[in-house]
Symmetry: C2
Subunit: 327 residues, 2 copies
């Protein structure tokens, strides 16, 4: 991958490496927040370990997704950029790509399935993106994205199976391990594997003694199944409240998680919701279920984390306040 000037086009099909994470950090620095690392004494006490929360719910557009989207958008050369970007995501990646595109001043198209949450679509539109509706199936949204691409020449920025996106997501852990060196573990939520694989790259380079542990909903545990079987499991129907973690593990993500020997823990939604509520009450921070799952993994496996220095990526804070999961 190219890693010199910020506007040179970067391949998005090869596997990214640590140098790509560093270039991503330089590329997004003018646009993304360096988020704080939060401590919470009472939660440490309950967990029996020292927790360092990387507050990506305070990132622009409310999630770490802005890092990868921003890296992808600012990796494009002028000619490609002028034709815009396209993705299919009704969640945090859609909003993040829309904001990144607006920041660069280029068009953004977001393909969204019928039935997506209205408030999330409003957020994407508020950042200036054009919405394209389609039937709620993976085939339909990929087809619609292809149509938009064909018509506009826009660059596809996949939510996680994209080297530029993975490298961008890795910058959160680059910041975390720079602020708090020599963590024993970093725990991250796992959906499609963009954050987890970026984290694995950054941790291996910056702090080889730091293990990366993924937290995946029991009802969408395709990554655990894939790593166990040694090949990607793509046939499954996710059943989880963690709406950001329903995606299918991507091919480059799978390769990176395997090669970095990332371990993934299954977490029940009930434990995730309890952890989210705890963090709201004690931390006073609005994190979403897909984010609280990482804390839940620690709280439900006390023996595994006892006495350790544990980084937890609080991946996002875009909660639907009209549909709280304990009501």
């Amino acid at each position: 991958m190219s890693r010199s000037p910020a506007t040179v086009s970067v391949s998005h099909e090869s596997l990214p490496d640590a140098a790509d994470v560093l270039s991503a950090a330089a590329r997004i620095a003018p646009h993304a927040h360096v988020t704080p690392v939060l401590r919470m004494a009472s939660i440490d006490q309950q967990a029996g370990c020292q927790l360092y929360f990387k507050a990506e719910h305070l990132q622009r557009a409310g999630a770490f997704k802005f890092r990868g989207a921003c890296n992808a958008v600012f990796s494009l050369d002028e000619a490609h950029a002028a034709r815009g970007v396209v993705t299919h995501s009704s969640g945090n990646h859609g909003a993040a790509l829309a904001l990144a595109a607006r920041t660069r001043g280029i068009p953004c198209h977001v393909v969204v399935p019928e039935g997506a949450v209205a408030s999330k679509l409003a957020a994407i539109e508020a950042y200036g993106a054009t919405l394209h509706r389609c039937a709620p199936s993976i085939a339909a949204r990929e087809a619609e994205a292809a149509r938009v691409q064909a018509r506009t020449g826009a660059e596809l920025v996949h939510p996680y199976a994209d080297a530029r996106v993975i490298a961008g997501q890795g910058t959160a852990t680059l910041e975390l391990l720079t602020a708090v060196p020599a963590l024993d573990v970093v725990v991250v939520p796992v959906g499609g594997g963009g954050l987890a694989s970026g984290t694995a790259i950054a941790a291996a380079a910056l702090s080889p003694g730091t293990r990366v542990v993924g937290a995946e909903p029991s009802g969408a545990a395709d990554t655990i199944a894939s790593l166990a079987r040694g090949e990607r499991v793509t046939e499954f129907t996710p059943e989880t409240l963690c709406d950001g973690l329903r995606g299918t593990l991507g091919a480059p993500n799978f390769a990176l998680l395997r090669s970095h020997d990332v371990e993934v823990i299954a977490v029940d939604d009930a434990d995730t919701i309890a952890a989210m509520r705890l963090f709201w009450q004690r931390g006073k921070q609005l994190v979403e279920p897909s984010s609280a799952i990482a804390l839940a993994a620690v709280l439900t496996q006390p023996a595994r984390f006892a006495g350790l220095r544990v980084g937890v990526i609080l991946s996002g804070g875009n909660v639907d306040l009209d549909a709280l999961p304990w009501r």
Copy 2:
């Protein structure tokens, strides 16, 4: 008032001044958090001014109340301290006093009315205080507090009509104006007037050009009435969702607000709830209604604050998650 060694007893009947705020800051420094000042670009844009949020919801026990309680507890001489402290408050002051007493290692008694929120009582007990239940009237709780005092010799620490408490609350604004000098205005919630009067003292001393504006629920606007009439209005029945702002303006608080020419704005609960929801969604911070009222005051009076540098004290974050006000 005495202001040298931290353990010398301080009168709590005279009016506190700026020197008392400074001694309070020194006295509580080993125990209280210096809370961060938060910025939120999208809310600035909506408000049409620059907002600096003093994050007292991240204070110990989840509210600025810990400052005043801590100052009172650590102002006691050894003999008085050994007999403990007592207050009547089922809310943030009760929890704050319990935590401050535990920090000093002395007994704490909290008189709570029948029908108080169970989760708040659990918090007070978790900090090690003894609960004393009484009928839900002001007369009943004052009588019960007097009985506890007579029996134990515990020192009464009133939630707001106490010079030590007022001086302690002023330290939040001391920190805010040290971090962000020359604010045009500081906006604070007004209940019994402890925070507002402490803020007025600190602002007048540190930044005489900074105005203090109070935000009071329309349904509990006794302070506005008192300032208009020139004497305390004590006969009223509060009707507001802001459970921290139902108290009656205290006598020293009234005197200080008058002498510092503090202006108080009435805010409807609906506007407070809208501001709270906005801050949850954009700021990802759990602030309670009694805290969001200060932001609501700014948002509902755009002409008054246009273009100004405005400090907002986010007074607390102890929300009842089972009873969200927009459900």
